[in-house]
Symmetry: C2
Subunit: 333 residues, 2 copies
């Protein structure tokens, strides 16, 4: 499954963000020549500290993937493109739908056109999302599940995923999409809940404050960042994945792939040595309209295609996350 | 089912095109104050002659639906918006994907934003397509069928449909989508096969030339233009349709909802009094990559929701089409 990355040129869009930077560190450790491009949107996950410790040949380019002039030389020299750039805000996408469209679809389609015309042999993995399954008809959700984006961001993430798959099928690009579920780990945004509520929970724990649990019974499937990074690399290394979209899930926690937010809250307190508490809050009406209920991923197709499996259990992943932010919280506030 | 249209203000985007103009005539005859907006793209279906015979209060505005300044006053005074503007070229969408995106998604999303902010009580019907079902898993295809756009145009039509449905569910707009299949009738483009191959077949018949049948066994479901127009009006008049997408099919032909192209060719010659012939051609490889195989619509959901049913049988519809172009062909060359 693991081919050598020595000297291979990897481009990571959204490379200063939570998962992009996790990938940058992992690929650099495997010997790849990594270029990260990131526009450092203030409401996104980009943080220069996420790239701390990376040295030449690692390169950071501040720029927008929609800027064809800036992107052309980056695309032309890439062997593998880890395509994680995008806006993720669901509420933001409803208040600024045209901005979300420009960032998540127009810029992505321009990038695919550059790959098609300038570097058609590059392999691509696109960071997609389980968001557009909407409220699931059944659990766990496999890739055949109906597609019903509940918000404008979901429409756009789906359109960009479909662009990637069509460019694979019609133009022969080696493009794969991974539909991510809730991801967590070191380098996520913790100053607020814009990227993931797990971030603000950890921040509160470290500040000896109760964190807020909105609802509590709803189930989510949590994937640790290192497992996500391994999945992206596995997708690049499996040419048979091209043209397909795959779900990713997390490592099982006490025999269950998905856990309720209440269970997550208990796991977080356990990972913090039993210290911490939370306040239960009512789920706000304006979020309810675009919420997706329970979710659990069926990721057997991707496991079968690549041999990948998530390795980091929930409590262990939370323990590592707490340790990271205990050491580095000041860089994330 | 039929409410009065006397004095109601109807806006038709793509209003000089084949189906838009059919709607304009129908709505004007019902007493509506109709405004048609059309950008008259040379590769599209717009034709000034399509609006021949319409008089004040009918108004034609030459403009692009992406032009918010021009569209704002049109939206503000509309009671009903028949949203048919768009590019339909499948091959064009692959060679100019960003142009297709701008026309079919960005402009549409801007229009929805105008409706949401300026005229949220207007009712909307969006002209969607069966195209994004891809190669069907089963026939007839109902609305639960998997969504698998085979080309960039399909991705964009699907995204715009989803925008409409989300604006209905989240913002409360009275927006419905109708997934059209192959439509034919008076006012379609006949100078080439850009809009529908039925157009060029009829032109060849009238010029006493054999028309070309590419393949022949593949099945399609054909809806006559007047039946499509009635469906749009029925959707506007049925508030319970808001937030939903519905298939439209055609009137049954000899007991079958769908017919092979060979059967269509025979029906066309029959509709022409037995005169005419065709050449059989091999299906070209570059189209095969994005072709959708057989198609037959299951439109029972829309029939149940509105009482609508297609009325014009295939041979009768072709007969009326031939008669129209026999009288007016010069305006379409």
């Amino acid at each position: 499954m693991t081919t050598s990355w020595q000297g291979r040129k990897a481009l990571i869009t959204g490379g200063a963000g939570f998962l992009g930077a996790t990938l940058a560190h992992r690929l650099a450790s495997l010997g790849a020549e990594v270029t990260a491009v990131d526009s450092f949107l203030p409401e996104g996950g980009a943080n220069p500290f996420n790239l701390d410790g990376l040295a030449a040949p690692f390169t950071l380019v501040k720029g927008d993937i929609g800027d064809a002039v800036a992107m052309t030389p980056l695309i032309e020299r890439s062997d593998a493109i880890f395509n994680l750039a995008g806006r993720t805000g669901h509420m933001d996408s409803m208040s600024d739908p045209l901005g979300d469209l420009a960032a998540n679809v127009t810029a992505q389609l321009g990038l695919l056109e550059l790959v098609r015309t300038r570097r058609p042999t590059a392999r691509i993995v696109y960071a997609s999302t389980r968001q557009f399954y909407g409220v699931p008809d059944y659990l766990p959700v496999d890739e055949k599940h109906a597609l019903r984006p509940p918000d404008v961001n979901g429409v756009h993430k789906l359109a960009a995923e479909q662009h990637h798959l069509i460019y694979a099928k019609v133009h022969g690009l080696a493009a794969t999409a991974l539909r991510l579920t809730n991801c967590y780990g070191p380098r996520m945004r913790v100053k607020d809940a814009r990227q993931t509520f797990v971030g603000i929970w950890i921040r509160r724990i470290l500040e000896d404050q109760p964190f807020e649990v909105w609802g509590g019974a709803q189930k989510r499937d949590f994937t640790y960042a290192d497992d996500v990074a391994d999945a992206f690399i596995a997708a690049i290394d499996a040419p048979a994945c091209a043209g397909n979209a795959y779900n990713l899930g997390g490592a099982h926690h006490n025999g269950s792939g998905a856990v309720s937010l209440d269970t997550l809250a208990e796991a977080l307190i356990a990972a913090n040595g039993g210290q911490g508490g939370f306040k239960r809050m009512e789920f706000p009406a304006d979020r309810k309209r675009i919420d997706i209920g329970d979710y659990e991923a069926d990721d057997r197709a991707f496991r079968a295609a690549t041999g990948w499996a998530p390795r980091v259990d929930l409590v262990e992943g939370l323990r590592r996350s707490i340790a990271y932010y205990r050491a580095n919280l000041a860089h994330y506030l």
